[in-house]
Amino acid sequence: MAVQGGRPSGGSAEHGRTGGTPPSEQDEQFYREYILDHYKNPRNFGRLEAPTLSHEEDNPLCGDVVGIDLKVSDGQIEDVRFHGRGCAISQASASLLTERIKGQSLDDARKISKEDVFEDLGIAISPARVKCALLSLKVLKVGAWGLGDWSGEEEE
């Protein structure tokens, strides 16, 4: 399998977001530096020893896989790791999501919306790639919170 682009096996939570906050105006550059950086050097990549919650989903259409492990105590997300394989959008989106939720309260993490994910990615996601972008959010919502009926990626 040659689709992973040099993925380290452990987490590397110490990185900041190297690309900085995405500029608000859209430029033509789809694969921005920081998206590629998150793809090649994913943050919080790997597995947790004894996760409080763990869930994995795939996107059968393109074979993207994302799994998220959470360590939660007193309603706070103390640690998070993700694992998976797939396209740059799905993997960068997962990496960005772990940065967003680490240290957050569960309550806040629950409120993360599709729009938040798109904003973190900071690029225009074409309809064909929406499922890639939202796979990690689906894992978070469906798995960790048992929202079995979450169908965010189908909504307009």
Partner: protein, 402 residues
């Protein structure tokens, strides 16, 4: 006569958009002649067929039925009665699974498929097998993507009831030795269905010479419109099959006590059919006949050789499947470190359309241990320059992902 690709391209209005279309195995483009044939129906004699005693309906019926004669010629079938109009390959295969399979298969019967199959030549058989308690066995491939004939021969010794396989693989491009496989399967007493979705547009077939019982294909992959395809069935086999869809047109008489079905092929053509599309498909047969299938194949071979050569010069790129001489105009590949979807997105920026994904062949993807591949496919209108643009796009993707 020289094959003039520029003259051919001039028949396809879509190329005025500048698209570099390398996804013809998915669906082809349509020439003006096909569009005009459908337009003519809609604007000059639009009406339902077989039902009206008025002129328009007669003209429509004549145009609609003329496609049957063209299909018969294209396939070298014995009779137009062996030509069933369908929506496409998928419907054709389902029709056989339902109309023949449900009637003839019983518990323990063996159906032989191959690992190269498209989902539409898998799922109908899985449903049938589950319903009847039949078994499915799969012919594997070798390292070059060729079907393992030793294994196929061993499976034939188990006297399968049905063997169903693709003439050309849509995911790998492999041209299977379909004539030899059919002969061996017939000698073993099996019924044989060939999925011609990729074979019909790119190679054609002589169904009498090959001797298959069924041959299913789609018009939209061979310059025709979506929504119309053909199932060829040997007449004796079609005649004793059950109908698939039931309703209007497929009957001779309907009484409260019961119904007598129409003769084949009408028995399988229930309801108002896609009339304009069938007429368009007729124009597609004409177009391909004008080019000649051997020229079509020769042009594709040239494009495939050119593409394989060009791709071999790109570093970190793996091509799946056999050498050009054994493949249709399909090249599946993987670029190290770049997921096929990302590659397709970047190529799209270069106006290049390729397919990325599992190509509706997940068992094959599992067999290759990949989740997706990128696939470029060629047809009558493909130019070398288009392949060059794709290669440039791949190098661009490699720069971006470096």
């Amino acid at each position: 006569m020289r094959y003039d690709v520029d003259a051919i391209r001039a028949d396809f209005p879509i190329f005025e958009t500048g698209i570099v279309y390398l996804d013809s195995a998915n669906t082809s483009q349509r020439p003006r002649q096909v569009l005009e044939a459908m337009d003519e129906y809609y604007t000059k004699f639009n009406s339902n067929i077989h039902r009206g005693a008025y002129r328009f309906s007669e003209i429509a019926t004549e145009h609609y039925e003329s496609t049957r004669a063209k299909a018969k010629r294209f396939l070298n079938a014995r009779s137009t009665r062996e030509i069933v109009y369908t929506r496409g390959t998928t419907e054709g295969i389902n029709l056989v699974a339902y109309g023949w399979g449900r009637k003839h298969l019983t518990a323990g019967d063996l159906i032989v498929l191959t690992i190269l199959e498209h989902h539409s030549n898998i799922v109908p058989w899985q449903i049938l097998a589950a319903e009847k308690g039949a078994r499915l066995e799969w012919v594997d491939i070798d390292e070059q993507g060729r079907l393992r004939q030793d294994q196929f021969a061993a499976l034939l010794e188990q006297s399968p009831k049905l063997v169903s396989f693709g003439q050309i693989s849509n995911a790998m491009g492999t041209i299977n030795p379909y004539a030899e496989m059919t002969a061996a399967a017939k000698a073993a007493g099996a019924m044989v269905l060939i999925d011609g979705a990729q074979g019909a547009p790119h190679a054609g077939i002589d169904v009498q010479a090959v001797g298959c019982d069924f041959y299913a294909f789609s018009g939209h992959k061979m310059l025709g419109p979506t929504g119309a395809g053909i199932l060829y069935g040997r007449r004796e086999v079609l005649e004793e099959m059950d109908p698939f869809l039931a309703g209007g047109d497929m009957i001779r008489t309907v009484r409260k006590e019961g119904t007598i079905y129409a003769e084949v092929p009408t028995k399988f053509e229930a309801g108002t059919m896609p009339i304009a599309q069938v007429i368009g498909l007729g124009a597609a047969f004409d177009y391909l006949e004008g080019l000649g299938m051997s020229s079509v194949r020769a042009h594709e071979l040239e494009m495939t050789e050119y593409a394989l050569e060009a791709l071999s010069e790109v570093p970190d790129l793996t091509v799946y499947g056999p050498p050009a001489s054994e493949r249709g105009g399909v090249v599946s590949f993987d670029v190290k470190g770049i997921h096929a979807h990302d590659l397709a997105t970047i190529l799209d920026r270069h106006q290049v359309a390729i397919r990325a994904g599992h190509h509706c062949a997940q068992p094959l993807m599992d067999r290759l241990d990949v989740s997706a591949t990128a696939r470029a496919s060629f047809y009558v209108y493909t130019k070398r320059e288009e392949i060059d643009v794709m290669i440039e796009g791949i190098r661009d993707a490699q720069r971006i992902f470096a």
